[in-house]
Symmetry: C2
Subunit: 452 residues, 2 copies
Amino acid sequence: MKRLIEICGKERVTAPELIPQEYLVDSVTGRQGEAYALVFPLSTEEVVELVVYAQLADLSIIPRGAGTGLTGATLPVSSELLIDFSLMNQILGFDKETLTLKVQPGVTLADIQAYVSQEGYFYPPDPGSKDATIGGTVATNAGGMRAVKYGVTRDYVRALEVVLLSGEVLPVGSITEKNSSGYDLKDLFIGSEGTLGIITEIQLKVIVPPVTSQSVLIAFDQLADVSKTVLAILSSHVEPTALELFEKEGMAYSEKDLGLKLPLDSGAAYLLLTVDGQDPKEIIARYQTAIRLAETHGGIDSLVLTAETAVQVWQLRGNIVAGIEAVSQQEPLDVVVPLNRMTETIDFMKALGQRYHLPTVCFGHAGDGNIHGCIMRQHLSAAEWEKRLSQLLSELYHFISDQQGLPSAEHGIGLLKKEYFLKEANPVYVKYLRQVKQVFDPDNRLNPTKLF
Amino acid sequence: MKRLIEICGKERVTAPELIPQEYLVDSVTGRQGEAYALVFPLSTEEVVELVVYAQLADLSIIPRGAGTGLTGATLPVSSELLIDFSLMNQILGFDKETLTLKVQPGVTLADIQAYVSQEGYFYPPDPGSKDATIGGTVATNAGGMRAVKYGVTRDYVRALEVVLLSGEVLPVGSITEKNSSGYDLKDLFIGSEGTLGIITEIQLKVIVPPVTSQSVLIAFDQLADVSKTVLAILSSHVEPTALELFEKEGMAYSEKDLGLKLPLDSGAAYLLLTVDGQDPKEIIARYQTAIRLAETHGGIDSLVLTAETAVQVWQLRGNIVAGIEAVSQQEPLDVVVPLNRMTETIDFMKALGQRYHLPTVCFGHAGDGNIHGCIMRQHLSAAEWEKRLSQLLSELYHFISDQQGLPSAEHGIGLLKKEYFLKEANPVYVKYLRQVKQVFDPDNRLNPTKLF
């Protein structure tokens, strides 16, 4: 503790007994952890000193942002030193000529989006939690609603500065548009969940924003028809920005929670589509194509949303998880399957929920084959919930693997999906993950017990 | 040799004395190498057997495609076993629902583009040599003319099957659209120039093609004005597919070689722009914006190209290197700098050429900051050429590094740029490149002496 105070100053070091519960309790499972201390560095130099001290004092480290993750990846489980990046929250520079934004890892997504937008530009990745830090979204390779057109966080990271456990500062990537000069270590750190190195600076790519956008809500009687429509749209010239799928049943939780109603009453399943672009006429042609494709694949009704209704519908879509959590604890799923396996996957998830008497609500980023699901605990005892859930998840992740799918599209593996990830992943792949880890963190000090 | 024949059969093994010169002489430098043998495997299983044998026989290996690379990366320099993938040239499957094309590494780019196009889809990466194998373009992360809008090879690789030197078969990546399930090893192999593993199967992402496109040629008196126009276009809604920059001087070689003339006579520097999309009217608005931006940044003339003229102009652009090679041996450059450092970089390159009396022609993918250059040997003796060239390149790559640029955008480092890459790269970065290499190829058998 003395050395930590020397490095960061007294006011930026929190002793274990004073660490707030939000740092020590996992938001999903309620599991309780314990930490060695909590520190708030201000600079790369301080992070290097913390890392060097951790080596000397034989401590493990967990770097963390806003704690909005959904996999327990930042939960301390073995008296780790928690490094909170929320004070490293400076926007360091914006170069409009190279379209590059340089930030510290603790800047929130909301702050980045607001800053860039005010300057007339656009940072597309849009994960659910705008309170997330950019460092956290890089560590999980977060996705969000606009990925089908614009890609995920990985696609917008030009370069990183990473502090390694050796105390070395490793620059990876480049602010150039192309790079075939040495191995791509940058992409190794993106999505590595704080297990390979500590990200202390990020250079992001921004783009020119679309001029206008339009959302359309389409109703279907059957979920399978939504999937067929999605495939047809992805093989057309609609070029959707967002393609969200949800069911009436799941939406009801959100409607109740917000006291709002979806503006289409017919149907059992819905597709919420956005198109954006420069030319309003061209956009009309594109969403009309989408509506036509829906009609030929079982769509029963559609509504071109006004600006005001669009805000409400997107609010309803964004609130599904909160609506469910208002009535029950839940296990958040983030599976991803090939685009043509969505119907089977959702059907399987729902049948599995019925079999285990664990109601399962499915929705997702249909344009990416990324299905979120909430498995609801309801009134079950902790023991019964854990028993049933773990059996259900074993079956589920095995099925996902059989579909050539993966346990996580955008949340990461963390603590909660580790067991299932390791069970289903190719053993040669896992072997080399461990060996790569050895290169950068030979003593396993960085977020140990997570990912594998 | 006996074991090689057991693995591949007699007709697919070439003894060293019978190996054609094209395998043993570097196309850029004319440097002569020597190989242990040349083999043509047909399957992953055969590649595994070859690798196991290489271990036993203490051989090094160079995997190679069509040999169209420009960095000496496939030149055998220490009696390596050459594995030629040209017979592993099958298209294994095309899934229109997931927009995934599965191929063997020896399929040529031309064959992939033709196949996909015939099916109504589009594989955007478009490096200069269409004879290149897809495996080669993955190994170098090749780019090409359309990268400014569509990205590079990396952006279209969903998954790889890689044979490691241990004989293990490692699957990396996924055919899902998103993936946050473990470290991104796929991107480590892309651009690794055959030094980490041997790619035996590739799954590519294809997209829906644009409906129509239009090219425009714009003339300028000064190169600096081209760069300013490029920056303005990239911050606008023009959304160019291609943004090629060249000078009258360099184009003259191509014109003479082809017996064609550029359809604009005024100006000293040119921007060749393509826009594509779905709606012809919207495309007109976009290229007109580009022309207006050029006019306000020093453009002196412009021509909207007819389909026929466009073919000729693109042919002229694509033939610059051949036009130069018709009169002199040349060193091909592939530097990349931040978008706003292009003018300074080209000015420096040309001044350097004058100082060393080595005429230097510059052109490039201006939308990516990727400047190709041809340094011409002319009548110089081999000794004098090598001496001047090596001094020039030392200065050049040091300058590029000062601009936060890199020695290679899309060709790779190989043998020819290794010295300069190692001199300018961050030493911590190079240290970890070597350690990552150790993980996958601890005995340094795979394309040794290349990259670092």
